[in-house]
């Protein structure tokens, strides 16, 4: 009996929290379909249902272009960092060479270095290459791997049995073949996790687009959303309906991605934390 009461209370509490976590989405979504005058009322079902806000946003902002820019940057960033991080992780996991542990210690140490320390000089590098104002700085650095993913993927590689690799070696497979044909397919879950994590990080990043992008036509979605807020929120008369509707449009792709990769996301995050 006491058990049952406790279970009911647990469920009630969970439901309460779940509503608190989901409600802002629902409210935002419903507001995006309300006419301007009703945007702030607290009704969930709009009294007057309208697509007007979406048309307004479409006319005010090159959202499709921003989406295309973001997709371009995000896909390149995620694919680049996954391939190179996997290569480096494999280099550290499979081969034995003098200085390996010391070098891997340096990889871990770079993880602790706050990004702000290198922010200014890295900007100056891209500036001297004439790349400021282009999308390149947002993804090209990922061609060199990233410490966190190297760590994650190496852990995974270390957990694989060595026999298939030895067998392939005896059969005459070269190192590249062993890596791409055997090791990578075996570590697919970790590869998917890396892709998803970096996709999310690149899609939601604001600071680097703020630093590197100048012209509205090169903006990514978060940068564009910030520009919309500056223009329609802070710059004179408030046009919340535009900002809110644009927020909905930028959030939806991430939510879809989450539902597609939910299993991997959750597993990836759970394993990240237990390495503490």
């Amino acid at each position: 009996m006491r058990r049952r009461i406790r279970l009911i209370l647990t469920w009630a509490a969970l439901s309460g929290f779940a509503i608190a976590f989901i409600y802002p989405f629902v409210w935002l979504l419903s507001a995006s379909f309300k006419p301007r005058s009703e945007v702030f009322d607290h009704r969930i079902i709009p009294e007057t249902f309208t697509f007007e806000n979406y048309i307004k946003v479409w006319n005010e902002a090159p959202l499709a272009l921003w989406m295309a820019n973001t997709l371009f940057v995000t896909v390149l960033a995620a694919v680049a960092v996954t391939i190179t991080s996997a290569m480096v992780a494999w280099g550290f996991a499979y081969f034995r060479f003098p200085g390996r542990n010391a070098l891997f210690g340096v990889v871990l140490a770079t993880m602790m270095l706050p990004g702000v320390v290198t922010m200014v000089p890295v900007f100056l590098i891209w500036n001297s290459l004439g790349m400021v104002g282009t999308l390149t700085p947002l993804w090209a650095q990922n061609l060199f791997g990233s410490a966190f993913y190297i760590f994650l993927l190496r852990q995974f590689f270390l957990g694989l049995p060595r026999e298939p690799f030895e067998a392939a070696k005896i059969d005459g497979a070269n190192n590249w073949k062993i890596f791409t044909r055997i090791a990578l397919p075996l570590c697919k879950p970790a590869v998917v996790v890396t892709l998803l994590f970096e996709f999310q990080a690149a899609w939601t990043d604001l600071m680097r687009p703020l630093i590197y992008l100048r012209d509205s036509s090169t903006f990514t979605v978060p940068r564009g959303l910030k520009a919309l807020l500056d223009q329609f929120g802070f710059g004179g008369e408030w046009h919340w309906e535009i900002v809110m509707t644009a927020s909905v449009i930028t959030t939806v792709p991430m939510i879809i991605l989450f539902f597609l990769g939910q299993k991997h996301f959750v597993r990836g995050i759970a394993t990240t934390g237990s390495k503490g």
Partner: protein, 310 residues
């Protein structure tokens, strides 16, 4: 005789082939480390001793930038704001995510749905979270004050009253505890059931079991979250910048939301004080190192590792 003489060079040759292969695989990282970490760190240290502004050549000014840090009232303000936010948000974050994870662990079925519900906000771009902050915590017609009004509470002007800006930011940051909940839940699932069974035999209640078994058993995970969340909180930027800074934003008393990373960004990329910004970056680095170091020393004693210290 001759066989043993050829063996050693052959082994050395095999070792060299393996080393060469390994170096090829890790070469992307080596190049990236030299270009995007090592050189920038050295350059940043040098720049912090100059008055570089991108347009003119840098002049060496010695420790002037560092001296200026102590005289700049905004540095003190930004540090205080960042500390207050960190001190409020990190413990709140851990307590809330631990609470939610315990609840999830206690409910036997359908946790998948709730886990998804708690995790969803984590998928919202931080810019959108900043915008939601302005909407939800709006003093006049925001959802939060509407909710408080149900209980007859007259909510504060969260986004305009300097005293309430940081509490608002802290509360909003709790919306994204999802990943911590998932991490803690995974740790909870790994606690051996036998421990609870024997505690039940001894007649220990729920509180006692949680405090004496659960929390110590998952302490490495809590410790990890504590350190990571602190480092992240000390560098928080996007939500506060979205909501309170940017071009055209003069409506808000945004000094209350001036976090250190925001001030650094402004100095570097709005005022083009690259030298001063580099000095600011090094100060933040030292602060983070010091705080993390102290945290490690203090909390290590409370962290329980199975099979002793690692």
């Amino acid at each position: 005789m001759s066989a043993s003489r050829t063996k050693a060079p052959r082994r050395r040759r095999a070792q060299w082939i393996e080393t060469r292969a390994a170096l090829l695989f890790i070469s992307p990282w080596i190049i990236g480390f030299l270009v995007f970490t090592a050189w920038p760190v050295i350059n940043s240290a040098y720049l912090s001793l100059t008055d570089y502004d991108v347009i003119n050549d840098p002049n060496f000014v010695g420790f002037d930038n560092y001296a200026q840090l102590f005289e700049d009232p905004k540095v003190g303000l930004a540090l205080r704001n960042t500390f207050v936010f960190t001190v409020l948000s990190v413990p709140a974050h851990i307590i809330v995510s631990l609470g939610l994870a315990l609840l999830l662990n206690g409910a036997t079925r359908a946790t998948g749905f709730f886990r998804t519900a708690f995790f969803l906000p984590k998928m919202t771009p931080p810019v959108a979270v900043g915008i939601l902050l302005l909407l939800l915590f709006n003093g006049q017609n925001g959802l939060i004050n509407g909710f408080l009004g149900v209980f007859g509470i007259d909510g504060p002007a969260w986004t305009t009253d300097p005293a309430w800006v940081k509490p608002g930011l802290v509360l909003m940051s709790l919306w994204t505890v999802g990943s911590s909940v998932v991490i803690i839940l995974a740790a909870l699932r790994a606690v051996p059931q036998e421990l609870y069974d024997s505690a039940l035999v001894d007649g220990a209640g729920w509180w006692r079991r949680t405090l004496r078994i659960t929390v110590p058993m998952i302490s490495p995970t809590l410790f990890f979250l504590f350190i990571v969340n602190t480092i992240n909180a000390l560098q928080s930027f996007t939500e506060a910048y979205t909501a309170f800074f940017g071009s055209g934003n003069t409506t808000y008393s945004n000094d209350a939301a001036l976090f250190y990373a925001i001030y650094l960004f402004q100095q570097a990329f709005e005022f083009l004080h690259m030298g001063y910004a580099s000095a600011l970056a090094w100060l933040l680095f030292l602060v983070i190192m010091a705080i993390t170091g102290v945290q490690m020393l203090v909390t290590r004693r409370f962290v329980h590792y199975e099979g002793g210290q690692p």
